[in-house]
Symmetry: C2
Subunit: 358 residues, 2 copies
Amino acid sequence: MDESVLDDISHRRYNPLRGNWILVSPHRTKRPWLGQQETPGKNVLPEYDPECYLCPGNKRSGGAQNPDFKSTFTFVNDFSAVKEEQADYDPPQSDDKTSLLLKAEGVKGKCYVVCFSPAHNKTLADMPIADISTIISTWQVLYRDVQLNTPFRSIQIFENKGAAMGCSNPHPHCQAWTTSHLPEEPAAELKNMIEYQRAHGSCMLCDYLAVELEKRERIVAENEAWVALCPWWAFWPFETLVLSKRCIKNILELESDRDRELFAEIISNVTTKYDNLFETQFPYSMGIHQAPLKGTEEEHAANHVHLHFLPPLLRSATVKKFQVGYELLAEPQRDITPEQAARRLQSQSTELYEESWG
Amino acid sequence: MDESVLDDISHRRYNPLRGNWILVSPHRTKRPWLGQQETPGKNVLPEYDPECYLCPGNKRSGGAQNPDFKSTFTFVNDFSAVKEEQADYDPPQSDDKTSLLLKAEGVKGKCYVVCFSPAHNKTLADMPIADISTIISTWQVLYRDVQLNTPFRSIQIFENKGAAMGCSNPHPHCQAWTTSHLPEEPAAELKNMIEYQRAHGSCMLCDYLAVELEKRERIVAENEAWVALCPWWAFWPFETLVLSKRCIKNILELESDRDRELFAEIISNVTTKYDNLFETQFPYSMGIHQAPLKGTEEEHAANHVHLHFLPPLLRSATVKKFQVGYELLAEPQRDITPEQAARRLQSQSTELYEESWG
Ligand SMILES: O=P(O)(O)O[C@H]1O[C@H](CO)[C@@H](O)[C@H](O)[C@H]1O
Ligand SMILES: O=P(O)(O)O[C@H]1O[C@H](CO)[C@@H](O)[C@H](O)[C@H]1O
């Protein structure tokens, strides 16, 4: 299959994991940009900020006081989007037009915040591998705790980094929202992974990884246990998908210190390359997809742990890609090919550029 | 059905048009906001800007010169995302894993820009109804022209307004992208509308409109021919859906001047209420969904012209809702209920607030 023509022509690519199409317009970055500029993220923050509600010892807006934590710190979000206790909503299951068209269901759950570090001015790209390993252990403890001690079916661990991605506090942290239902995105992926497994008798992401490791056109970073690549169907300009080489179902399968270290290393490599690309603190949303906390055996078996990094920047530290009019109303659209993006990330160093240490 | 409990509890609502769920967290707006602030849109622009590539008589970056237009002006985008002529891409249809997982298809099409007015400093909210009617006529001419003179199946008319929505030039304009295929969003809506029609023997949006006109809880504006409402399943904080009362399939069915005037009036009302809400030039992406240019009789029959207004602002002229981590990786999430949003928009005047005239 000769795909080189795709460097020049407009085309759509199919995302078999999500089940959707993306429009790719390789020639389009030439247009001038007169629109909104982002503020480049530079690390000019103090190590401790007395006003920060995530720094050790400080008061949170809910009134609680943070302990004097030394590594990671997990707490329940003071402004949770979902709660453990609330009134029930059981609409009558009739089939008149009103209940057909105004459909709703109650959602219970719990929202956590995980501080990555006591230091206000760190990011994943700044941190030693050992500290990222500690964050991974913290995720494991949380996953296990929610699985054992709550009735919830799903946990979504995610990080919004940078003001451009709606992050309201630069103190390094992620969130984990657990819910009684499996949300749209993991549900759609799971459906497609199950269908693939039924049709082909193999894991979709294992097969995809094999194709990519053979082609080596979209790989950004790699170690013994993980591969980071710009997926064939990437939607954000420098989107990456981080895949485990072993077909693990959830992060609990990272049992040894070495397992966690290798996971930490690939996260460090990806985030460092991102920062180096435009010499800025690269904004992104990142999330871990894995087997649901509660589910059927088939749901468990069809899964394959992966991370999505969704970064908005397109041309520089200040010019992002807007997913707006056409994208929202018609179809996701991107301007550079995933291969072009991969080449640029591939060539970045895994040593962080200098200025951000200042 | 008693839905009042939904004012207090977290829940999901189903969007039967798009076929997806949205998480609603009514209590969540109480959290403090320390994140990114948008620059409020104020009208301080000149009527003519010598640097603007959309003003009459000016040079565009492609080299062409704009005519001295007096009302609307349509031209082919100098940086089109799709083109009429390009090399073909015909991947072999084999079922090996590579072609299964690296799927792509060529896309041809044409991208247009439609200037709404020669005046650099106007917006739809600023314009007299007669001028908006002229814009509607221009859309009709374009729809007709593309339908008769090109092989393309789809046309997406959309407007990105405001820097927050990736608009790179404040000169009032919209775009229209035509493509050889039907893009994801209208395709998903069409599939659901067809299934509804088959199952219930009626038009989904006619039925939905009837429910809303009976309940009158989510209506924002209304005239003889149109209703603007915050849909039950709204995703953006002040999202509205504008529905025609008559079940028209495409904008060509707005045959009389009065038809166009009533459409212009509802657009004027919605955009004016938006501006009044936070006394700012309210950013949004807006798009028209209608029957494909080419399609089966069933595809035509199942359609119902509607507009989506997708505005990002949440609390004020400077604080928007970010659709980021959880939203991208798990499920769309909103903080106020559509009913609360509708009440606030309902109560706005259809006269534009004063400052923006200055
Ligand atoms: O074509 P424009 O206005 O320069 O660009 C804007 O609208 C396009 C269509 O929604 C988007 O792809 C761009 O990201 C956005 O900046
Ligand atoms: O919870 P935070 O960090 O204040 O809020 C941020 O992440 C949430 C989850 O993606 C989003 O719903 C918010 O819009 C965003 O600002």
